[in-house]
């Protein structure tokens, strides 16, 4: 192989092969999938995320949550995502068409969050969990995000947003309160907005083995 141009042509064609197959082909097919309009209600799914949650997604990105939490559910029978309560159906491309940036993730040091908003966890639980995960989940290795909260002096009326019922070692000094910052509020709004429960025609589980 002493001919430079021939060598270069081979090198070019090799990567052109997967660039065409993986990138271009899917850009022209999967990239054209749009929302699905439900015939009964006339609503388009997936629905756009409200404003505060949108800002919360940026906080999620800033803090690198993606490195321990996925947002993709594997189909029942492949893994055990359904049994863990992470979602009853597999995630499909259409679930993501409203998202400007996809946060699929590849690591489950923590649980999947594709449908965390559908779980019976209220904002108070999320705030405490973010303040220090040991409050709600003893033994967790999630880092504390206390820097998303502010301990401040109560002036006049206590804030309705103040975190209530903190155990003594976390409780603020007398006359003070712990309040979530705007970023914490946005992040919790984002987490609570995460749910993909609508069944698209393509997302209904298929029994591959054939028997029923």
């Amino acid at each position: 192989m002493n001919k430079g141009p021939l060598l270069f042509l081979g090198i070019f064609l090799a990567l052109a092969f997967s660039w065409t197959g993986i990138v271009l082909t899917n850009h022209l097919t999967v990239g054209r999938i749009g929302t699905y309009v439900d015939a009964d209600t006339g609503t388009a799914f997936p629905q756009a995320v409200p404003g505060l949650a949108r800002r919360g997604k940026l906080v999620y990105q800033e803090l690198g949550c993606i490195y321990c939490h996925t947002q993709q559910v594997r189909r029942p029978g492949f893994g055990a995502d359904d049994l863990r309560g992470w979602g009853e159906r597999q995630s499909v491309p259409r679930d993501y068409v409203q998202q400007e940036r996809l946060l699929l993730g590849t690591m489950r040091t923590g649980p999947d969050l594709m449908n965390v908003g559908a779980r019976p966890l209220n904002a108070d639980w999320h705030y405490k969990h973010l303040l220090d995960p040991q409050l709600t989940s003893p033994g967790s290795i999630m880092p504390p995000f206390a820097f998303l909260f502010e301990t401040r002096k109560i002036v006049g009326q206590p804030s309705p947003k103040a975190i209530q019922g903190l155990p003594p070692q976390y409780a603020p000094p007398p006359g003070h309160e712990v309040v979530p910052s705007h970023r914490a509020e946005a992040l919790v709004a984002y987490l609570m907005s995460l749910k993909h429960e609508f069944d698209y025609p393509e997302s209904i589980p298929v029994n591959v083995s054939g028997g029923k």
Partner: protein, 506 residues
């Protein structure tokens, strides 16, 4: 060395007069590459130390989450990402630039020209990486794996890369007529592939994001190919050069070299989508990725056999040559990690290993045990020829080798066991014989977390060992530069003074 080997080597080696002329020519070429290559090596070393510090912090945090927990800029998600990007774009890529430019000039028998442009490009690359890493710590990460540098850092990186790659390709263009060696194929390919991958990924993910599920496909097409089409070819080019160079005998088979190169070029670039098995992507793409991942066995086995047979009969040389020791460790790791990687793409095994620490261990097996170790070996060979000084201390090389080799072995083995436990507990189920109801064996997620803790601690231990190895290397590097330059006729440093040195090295 057996007599058969020495006669074979002798029959293929030029006579003494030609050898002297050859050495003088190479020496002139080395001198022409000195400034940029030396700059890239120094930058690589700085980033290696920074990346190691970030790695240790991240590793400690994973079993002790309160450690440095108050500082937002050091939260796990930031510091882990700063680690990845400083070792990938800081350490590994700077080292790859140094090796690629030096090898390309030597193999093309061409002096490097117009160094000023290369200097500027090198400076810009490192400024870009620094801006990117600071951006990540500030919370400006894009949250796209392997592409976390904020958009304000990446254009300068692309331009810098394009210039550096272009310079190596121009050097190739001005080569002396004759045989193009296998290392040059790999270098050319890598230098052409990376900017293609990087520019497409930046455009389709950051500047004009593609819609929906196309993004992860582009993401993993890029991220896996950074390893497969950038670091792997540079690593293999180095092995193909230094192995025969140190041993003083030719590579076993030209045809295995060609088979290895073209099958890697053809299959590796499809393999990346195996990171999305079980994900929201068309089944045919995933299946194609799995097939390509399994076909990767062909180049890996061909290259492995080629290197191994070249090495046969010369294993005694591992005792005295630092370069050979690191290169052989890297070569063996390449074969192992690639075969395990192919297995990880099989759906049934992927179901278990995906989303676990097993993948993290695998990534370090490839980028550290293979690529980083090969780069260390290359640096031990290049530095004396660039600076005219010998490495002052054999014991420090031994400390560097053993702490890194044992450290990464503990890292990979420990974390893979932890990953398997994590993966099994995540998916294992039992079926009630009466009701037929399927239930999880380990229903509480927190129990799985607790069971992986010992392996996360073993990773920190391994990290401390690797850090000691890196510090030994850094101290030795600086010590070497502080020494006076040897006048002429230096003896290469040997790890074992009793081992016989063949005439070819004297």
């Amino acid at each position: 060395m057996s007599s058969a080997d020495s006669s074979l080597a002798a029959s293929l080696k030029p006579g003494p007069a030609e050898a002297t002329a050859e050495r003088a020519l190479l020496s002139e070429i080395d001198v022409s590459t000195r400034r940029p290559v030396f700059f890239f090596l120094c930058a690589a070393l700085v980033w290696l130390l920074a990346g190691t510090a970030f790695a240790l912090i991240a590793s400690f945090k994973l079993h002790n989450p309160a450690f440095l927990g108050q500082a937002e800029w050091l939260t796990f998600g930031n510091v882990r990402t700063a680690h990845l990007n400083s070792v990938v774009y800081g350490w590994a890529t700077n080292a790859a630039f140094a090796v690629a430019i030096w090898l390309m000039a030597r193999l093309s028998r061409a002096q490097l020209r117009h160094l000023g442009i290369l200097d500027v490009a090198g400076l810009f690359w490192n400024v870009g990486v620094a801006i990117g890493v600071v951006g990540i710590l500030r919370g400006d990460s894009t949250s796209i794996e392997w592409l976390e540098f904020p958009a304000y850092a990446t254009p300068v990186l692309f331009v810098a890369y394009a210039l550096i790659g272009l310079w190596a390709i121009i050097t190739f263009r001005f080569r002396q007529p004759g045989h193009v060696y296998v290392s040059q194929w790999y270098l050319l390919a890598a230098l052409f592939w990376f900017p293609w991958l990087y520019s497409i990924a930046q455009i389709m993910l950051v500047f004009a994001p593609a819609r929906g599920a196309v993004q992860p496909l582009v993401n993993w097409w890029f991220a896996h190919n950074v390893l497969g089409l950038w670091f792997t070819p540079i690593g293999l080019a180095s092995i193909y050069y230094f192995l025969p160079k140190v041993l003083g005998k030719p590579i076993h088979s030209y045809y295995l070299s060609a088979l290895g190169f073209w099958s890697l070029a053809l299959f590796y670039n499809w393999a990346g989508v195996h990171h999305l098995i079980g994900g929201p992507e068309p089944a045919w793409v995933i299946t194609a990725g799995i097939v390509a991942s399994l076909l990767m066995v062909i180049p890996v086995v061909a290259t492995g056999i080629n290197h191994h047979v070249t090495m046969v009969g010369s294993f005694g040389r591992l005792k005295d040559s630092p370069t050979l020791r690191f290169i052989v460790f890297g070569g063996v790791s390449y074969t192992l990690t690639s075969l395990i990687g192919s297995a990880m793409a099989v759906r049934s095994f992927n179901e278990l290993a995906h989303f676990t620490h097993f993948t993290v261990a695998h990534a370090h097996h490839g980028l550290y045990a293979f690529f980083t170790m090969v780069m260390f070996g290359a640096i031990y060979y290049m530095m004396p020829r660039l600076t005219g000084r010998e490495w002052p201390s054999a014991p420090l090389i031994s400390v560097h080798f053993w702490f890194c080799a044992v450290g990464i072995t503990i890292y990979v083995v420990g974390l893979k066991i932890g990953g398997l436990i994590q993966g099994w507990e995540m998916i294992a189920t039992t079926t009630d014989p009466q009701t037929g109801e399927v239930a999880l064996r380990v229903p509480l997620f927190l129990d799985i977390v607790k069971h992986t803790l010992p392996y996360l601690v073993s990773r920190s231990l391994a990290g401390v060992m690797i850090t000691i190895g890196h510090l030994a290397f850094a101290v030795h590097f600086v010590w070497m530069l502080l020494q006076p330059r040897a006048v002429a006729g230096t003896q290469p440093v040997r790890l074992s003074p009793d081992a016989a040195l063949p005439a070819s090295r004297a």
